[in-house]
């Protein structure tokens, strides 16, 4: 077991192929989870900043709860809680050209756990980015006659989202590392 002899197993049989396949699955989960978490995170951030008090408090509680729970707890909970029927539906609707790991209903638990947790974290990052803009930006947009959505889309979000790029990237790296956790519920 000295030097490179310890890595002899890598070239034996199909081991290298297995490792690369596993790597690919991690990558796929990461990409899908990143896209979904970014979308859900933006939605949550907008709800959190909404002028409707009920919506903003509800979104705040949601974000604070899911941000402060261990990701593994969420994944294991969903793994045990999501009913078999939902898993079966997932397996039915998943097209056959998707990779084998995605055909398993367990992916539903792993993926939704990753998205639940990371969308809450990203929502908080995006909220901070949006709120770091001077108030004058929103006021100027309104004064120019833009409505709420137009002001968001044309003035606030382009600037706010640019400010939160570094924090978002580091969270997405964490997400990519956290895709290892789905192995605990036996996604292989």
């Amino acid at each position: 077991m000295t030097g490179f002899a310890a890595f002899g197993w890598l070239t034996e049989g199909n081991n290298l192929r297995f490792i690369l396949e596993g790597f690919l699955i991690n990558l796929e989960i990461a990409v899908v989870a990143i896209i979904l978490a970014l979308i859900a995170g933006l939605g949550l951030a907008l709800l959190r900043l909404s002028r409707n008090r009920v919506l903003s408090v509800a979104a705040g509680v949601w974000v604070d709860v899911f941000r402060n729970l261990p990701l593994l707890l969420l994944i294991l909970f969903l793994f045990l809680w999501i009913p078999q029927s939902a898993r079966d539906t997932w397996e039915d609707v998943m097209p056959s050209w998707m990779p084998e790991a995605w055909q398993s209903g367990l992916m539903l638990a792993g993926l939704s756990g990753l998205v639940l947790y990371n969308s809450a974290v990203l929502a908080e990052i995006m909220r901070a980015g949006i709120q770091s803009l001077p108030r004058g930006q929103a006021e100027a947009a309104h004064a120019l006659g833009l409505n709420y959505w137009k002001a968001m889309r044309l003035v606030i979000l382009p600037q706010g989202l640019r400010r939160m790029v570094p924090a978002t990237v580091s969270q997405l790296i964490t997400l990519t590392k956290d895709t290892t956790l789905v192995s605990i519920i036996a996604i292989v």
């Binding site: 402060n68 294991l76 809680w81």
Partner: protein
Amino acid sequence: MPFAFVDTLTENFDEFLRGFGTTVELVVVSFVIAMGVGTLIAAFRVAPSPWLQRIGGLYVECFRNIPLLVLIFISYPGLRRAGIDISAFVAGVASLGLYTAAYVAEALRSGVFSVNKGQIEASLSLGFTYPQTMRRIILPQAFRTVISPLGSLIIAMIKNSAILGGSILALDDLLKTGRVVASRTFDVIPAFVWAAVGYLILTGLATVAIRMLESKYAVRR
């Protein structure tokens, strides 16, 4: 239904309490390791010698970019197969501590760089040695600016401690307790909700403590 919810806690209270205690123990021990090693590595990274800087950089890049679960696989089954008789607890806290240490080192390094360079020069020219400069001039100021990044690391560490109980180490922490209770009683939702409440108590307490420290020490900018 709500009573069944409470029953799950009261009937398994001792077990949940033990799990909570184990999680606290894991977090405290890992935190001590993370702070000790992290401070050392941060000192390496800002040391005047390029070799020490490289060693520090290598440590940070390795431990920050390897998922915690992989570290656990290396430190427990890996080391045991290599003939080192390591216990699950030691492997767990060492993995979590060394993993977090890399983040702590980065936070402290940015704190050190936030202290004006002139202060190092001034203290060296006053005759302090380099370690003395670090300990007496730079680090006390650096620690103040890094309270909030360290705080978020502590919260992340509390959450990461669940990986120790959920993975092959199977330490009896809060998550493992929730899982055991869930599979014994089939009350999946209450068991996990109570485990979640335990984690929320811990992260909530940490948040409050950090806010208090911040308002007491943090540098106003």
